[in-house]
Symmetry: C2
Subunit: 334 residues, 2 copies
Amino acid sequence: MRVHDLPTPALVVEAALLKANLATMASARPGAALRPHVKAHKCTALAREQLAAGHRTFTCATAREVAGMVAAGLGEDLLLANEVLDLSRLRALADLAPAARVTVAVDSEATIDAAASAGVREVLIDVDVGLPRCGCAVDDAAELAARARSRGLHVRGVMGYEGHLMVVTDRDDQRAQVAEAMDRLLLAHAVVGGDVVSAGGTGTYDLHDRVTEVQAGSYALMDTHYAQLGLPFGQALFVEATVISVRERWAVADAGLKAFGMDHGNPTVLGGRVLYLSDEHVTIVPDEGRAVRPGDRVRLVPAHVDPTVALHERMHVVDGAEVLESWPVDLRGW
Amino acid sequence: MRVHDLPTPALVVEAALLKANLATMASARPGAALRPHVKAHKCTALAREQLAAGHRTFTCATAREVAGMVAAGLGEDLLLANEVLDLSRLRALADLAPAARVTVAVDSEATIDAAASAGVREVLIDVDVGLPRCGCAVDDAAELAARARSRGLHVRGVMGYEGHLMVVTDRDDQRAQVAEAMDRLLLAHAVVGGDVVSAGGTGTYDLHDRVTEVQAGSYALMDTHYAQLGLPFGQALFVEATVISVRERWAVADAGLKAFGMDHGNPTVLGGRVLYLSDEHVTIVPDEGRAVRPGDRVRLVPAHVDPTVALHERMHVVDGAEVLESWPVDLRGW
């Protein structure tokens, strides 16, 4: 199939760029030094490429991501890096063993008790390293680990996500702040114990020398938000759209608010400027001198990869004008 | 089932509020005076409620919405209020006749030629009434209508969406601007002919006395963006989330960027303030004196209904603590 024959809007992935991104990361953080986060692509076929690049452990954000990874045969060592109180979901996760190994993040008595009573076997203590989100205070880590062990849970170690530091644009400043955040995580680790110290993301993947693994996900496909950091990962993900209407001062293509995660702002368009989006449209101003006709294709670059991918049923792996493969985005929903 | 037993994040619709919204609109614009836009809810079960309220004609934004409506037995008179150049999709729409009546918007020679060669039978001339999006110049409407007729298409009339005027907060100002936009549409109608003059949306539903039908959709479920206009429609749509982590100064619930259309900004939360969202989390600051514990439910109000609904597989119709029905959001995707 040709890219031009794909119904639009279509999520397309440039094969060579994806491959280069995976290779760059696998070289910087080989094997278990990276626990790729599947929330950024929600696609087991892409996870399989990460496995081929040497990573056998994965990070998930939802119970459905975990179950989907196990169903795809990728359940060797999955971390659900999120707190869950839903007992049916926790029981379903527990039931995945022993075929799969599932570790769940906990940060409170309530999450520990839920995990234990649902039959979950292994947990990480999630520690607040500065991002106002999940994670216990460093001072509470020891007590929570003790409680988890008293409930029969194996405490594998700690995790702490410094999400607030992902897009600090001054690298030295970022390095110093990440070091401070990791000081907190290591203080917690010292009292919690275990083999795992898990942290980080694409924006800080190369600033971690004191953790056992980094949870990066966006590096595989990238977006304009991360691109501003000058990381050695190329933009591999695009939304292909068809121009459906042309006027003197603008053109309209068929990819709108329902095709892009909009929390980091508008996508950008190659060969023009995005004016605004509505549900199923993007109005663009083509570059001076660029003639655009109905039926032409345009390519847009999402501002934020994770919520964009979650809007599409498939991603098409392409090489120039040719579609090599179509991968289901099979880890969507909850 | 109880609302508290729904896995979260869950899209919930308050039955009484939905019913009141449908009744208010059906009273203001009964029967064919409203052509409800299904893009706002993407749910044939909800469209069936609109049918029960007296509306037998519907507006769609995508070919898939049209096909889904026909499959659900709601294809009596469907308007695809959007330009389509994809011949396979147009052929599939043409094949829906005679069981269904499908009218497609056209605004250029290219869209007319595509519709005609795919076997589409009926079109509306889409006219630019001030929104920089699809629609031909008023001056081109007559020629396009003639071309459509020469290609054997039945031209049912005109449409023109004044989307740029939906949230003008001064009502007198809005009324005057809508009148000007409709002057343009009626100029086009005078030269195009046909029985249909289609325009409008939830924000202007009561400002149209010169069109045959209004294409409102958001009125059924509403969002915080439209709520600022003081329309007589109540907020019927919420996202129910579970508190999964609590600290001294914030709480975290399990509904994030992948559960909300974010183009109009953050959702709001009942009983607190939203600090920010990440992929699967919302960090909130509960109101002073409100104790929040892990496992508690919180209710969030989306800023923009259309892209929010498109992220969910189901919407649950509830009455207080009880789930009355669960409706598939079956018109998603493309």
